[in-house]
């Protein structure tokens, strides 16, 4: 039997889906977390296998965004390759029935078997909302069960009801009811079944008074963002030092057994430990960044931030709604670009997709951190801030401001000037669930480690081969790498990148960096380990480049990474989400152009000043 979960945005469909299937889909506290149909299965107590579809939230079957259209099409049995569901489980937030019941009525009119799951019943009780479930069920003509999707066992009643029998179809009283008629019906049902002590939660009002205050609200948002970047830098340091020395010790231990001039020794020492070690140390920073993003997502604060920034974002041709996808892009542009599906307006959506790569993703953090630690002195500014943290903050803001600039240019170039919509729901605040946050961090750590163990490992080993062969001729005076394929390739590229201050080692590192940005750091580690006479491992890459590069080169490389379109997966997602190669070409082209110009300006100015 095929069951579809439908309901208004942010009513807990995905949490319920995870309860039923034991899945680990992402849950957060804002509308539009689920943008795709997700499928799972579970075996009911009766032994039947049930297929469950988790659908994006919709306010109405009058779809106004691509994710709402998916829900509409699946429910109507019009989605390509997808049979209409045998049973629809309509999920409604018990604390927000006035809004959610209307969609329930719309779903009932489909003429398919429906079960209503009243979710968040615990929150409803806490708020003093009393619901006469039996009467509600009688009036709607569909079975109604209570659920608490975020609690273990909170979906028991729903499972039992689904397993029992497929409910009868209720013929709709009116075939084509108007919006007003639907609302009238909702009102009469509510009047008969629900008693509420008050409309809002006192704590929401209290927090919003400050969080949405014209002055304090913006100050809180700015402080919060600044604090996150400071924390990423300062909290991670002791752990990073520990990982660094651990890897160095392991490298010495492992390679100690091998003859010092063998190829295997070089592969392990210069390729593996120098390359992978250089990337691995950044795990703590990435996790700290994710910790903050996950907490913000769960708390319900993000839509508030979108509210505060809408006006500014609208001026430059974006929408407040773009704040959430763009913030996710700080973690990684790929989920960020997918999250744009909850933006209704296709123009706003395309702009957001095209500027998302300008948000500094966590893969760029290793590059920034390496260069900042090597070139920017760690000293305190005004007693509280760390200069390194301030530089990092500046780099992030360089990305943000250029995104605003690019969006503004796109707005000017656009021919269609008709009105864009905001209309965004602000959810109740919620205390983040420790288990969900833990799961999210664990997943992120696994993704990072898999990348390190997969693509980054493969590219690092490949680079080691390219920079080891062919070996130097007899009587060679230069380091071996100068005669290798990679060395020659780097020298060829150097012609293009010399005006922006990149030496041939950086040019080599840029190439594998195309597959994943972190690889650039691993590649630098390998390239320098290969050209160095001593056995320098990852931990010494910083001091090494501090000696060899000019400050202008370092700043130029930082500027390059603010823009550089060096991520194949991002370009692939842009292709998939916009279904257009043209947009991919536009994104890659403008990012490359900006990167080159920014680096050129940075390098030439820094050189002129020094």
């Amino acid at each position: 039997m095929r069951i579809a979960l439908v309901g208004n945005p942010n009513c807990g469909k995905t949490a319920l889906f995870n309860q039923l299937t034991g899945g680990r889909q992402k849950v957060a506290n804002y509308a539009g977390v689920t943008v795709e149909r997700k499928e799972g299965r579970f075996v009911a107590p009766s032994g039947r296998t049930l297929h469950i579809l988790d659908l994006p939230g919709a306010y109405s079957f009058e779809a106004t965004s691509p994710d709402e259209a998916i829900t509409r099409d699946v429910c109507h049995g019009r989605y390509p390759g997808e049979a209409a569901p045998d049973l629809i489980v309509c999920v409604a937030d018990a604390t927000n029935l006035r809004l959610h019941l209307r969609f329930v009525l719309e779903v009932r009119r489909l003429g398919r078997p429906v079960v209503l799951a009243l979710n968040m019943m615990d929150a409803a009780r806490r708020r003093g909302i009393a619901i006469d479930v039996a009467e509600l069920s009688r009036r709607l003509g569909v079975p109604v069960v209570e659920t608490v999707a975020v609690k273990r066992g909170g979906a028991k009643a729903l499972i039992a009801r689904i397993d029992e029998s497929v409910p009868d179809i209720v013929p709709a009283a009116i075939d084509q009811a108007s919006v007003e008629q639907l609302h009238t019906e909702v009102r009469s049902i509510l009047a008969a079944t629900v008693t509420t002590s008050r409309d809002t939660v006192a704590i929401d009002d209290a927090i919003d008074r400050w969080a949405l205050h014209p002055v304090f609200g913006l100050a809180i948002l700015a402080t919060l963002m600044f604090f996150i970047f400071q924390a990423v830098f300062s909290w991670a340091e002791p752990i990073m030092d520990a990982i660094e020395s651990g890897i160095a010790a392991l490298g010495v231990f492992v390679t100690g057994f091998l003859p010092a001039d063998s190829a295997l020794h070089s592969l392990l020492n210069d390729g593996l430990f120098a390359g992978l070690g250089a990337v691995l140390v950044f795990l703590p920073q990435i996790l700290i960044l994710f910790l903050f993003i996950l907490v913000l997502e769960e708390s319900g604060y993000l839509p508030r931030a979108a509210f505060l920034l809408d006006r500014m974002m609208f001026r430059v041709g974006l929408t407040g709604r773009a704040f959430i996808p763009l913030l996710s892009s700080f973690a990684c542009a790929i989920p960020g670009i997918m999250a744009t599906r909850s933006i209704q307006d296709p123009r706003d959506r395309l702009t957001t997709i095209l500027v998302a790569p300008l948000m500094t993703c966590s893969a760029r953090l290793p590059v920034y951190t390496l260069l900042i630690a090597a070139f920017i002195p760690s000293r305190s500014v005004w007693g509280v801030f760390n200069l390194q943290g301030i530089v990092l903050f500046t780099l992030y803001f360089a990305g943000i401001f250029s995104a605003l600039g690019v969006a503004f240019v796109m707005k000017r170039l656009r021919k269609d000037k008709s009105e864009h919509a905001l209309i965004m729901e602000l959810p109740s605040y919620r205390l983040p669930n420790v288990r969900d946050i833990g799961l999210g961090l664990w997943e992120r750590a696994m993704i990072f480690l898999k990348r390190v163990g997969g693509i980054i490992l493969a590219l690092t080993v490949l680079l080691w081969f390219l920079s080891s062969f062919p070996g130097p001729p007899d009587g060679a005076t230069q380091p071996a790498i100068d005669y290798s394929i990679a060395g020659r390739l780097g020298r060829m590229l150097e012609v293009i990148f010399a005006p922006i201050g990149f030496n041939w080692q950086i040019c080599i590192a840029l190439v594998p960096g195309l597959a994943a940005r972190e690889v650039a750091v691993a590649a630098l580690g390998t390239v320098y380990a290969m050209s160095g006479s001593d056995d320098s491992v990852a931990s010494q890459l910083g001091p090494l480049i501090a000696n060899q590069w000019s400050l202008a080169t370092a700043l130029s490389l930082l500027a390059w990474y603010v823009f550089a379109p060096q991520c194949m997966s991002t370009l692939a997602v842009i292709r998939r989400e916009t279904n257009s190669w043209r947009n991919v070409a536009v994104a890659a082209g403008y990012l490359f152009g900006l990167a080159y110009l920014a680096s050129l300006a940075t390098y030439q100015i820094a050189r002129a000043l020094s």
Binding site: Y59, S60, E62, T64, T95, N96, R98, L99, R102, V179, E180, H183, R187, T196, D199, T200, D208, L212, H213, P214, V215, G217, L218, P303, A306, F307, L308, D310, R311, M312, F314, G320, E419, A421, L422, I423, M424, E425, L426
Partner: protein
């Protein structure tokens, strides 16, 4: 009075939602979200820049609406004629 002109904190009742142009999807969405005649609404807060967007409470739900969107909603403010 238009909802976008309502005073902050005042309680009001929706009279109607008017289409800014024929087949206006924004007006349709507002009706879908419950902005229909007789519903009580309240302007809770205004955005920090230029007083835009507006935070509108309808039932127990809060929506951020831009001024141009809220201007489609005609309301009667309590205590005002």
């Amino acid at each position: 009075m238009r909802l976008s002109d309502a005073p902050k904190g005042a309680n009001a009742v929706v009279q109607s939602v008017s289409d800014a142009h024929p087949a206006d999807p924004i007006a349709q969405r507002l009706r879908d979200l419950g902005f229909v005649a007789g519903e009580p609404v309240r302007l809770v807060a205004r955005g920090p820049l230029g007083g835009d967007p507006l935070l509108i409470q309808i039932g127990s739900t809060r929506f951020a609406l831009r001024k141009s969107e809220a201007a489609r909603v005609d309301v009667l403010v309590d205590g005002a004629a």
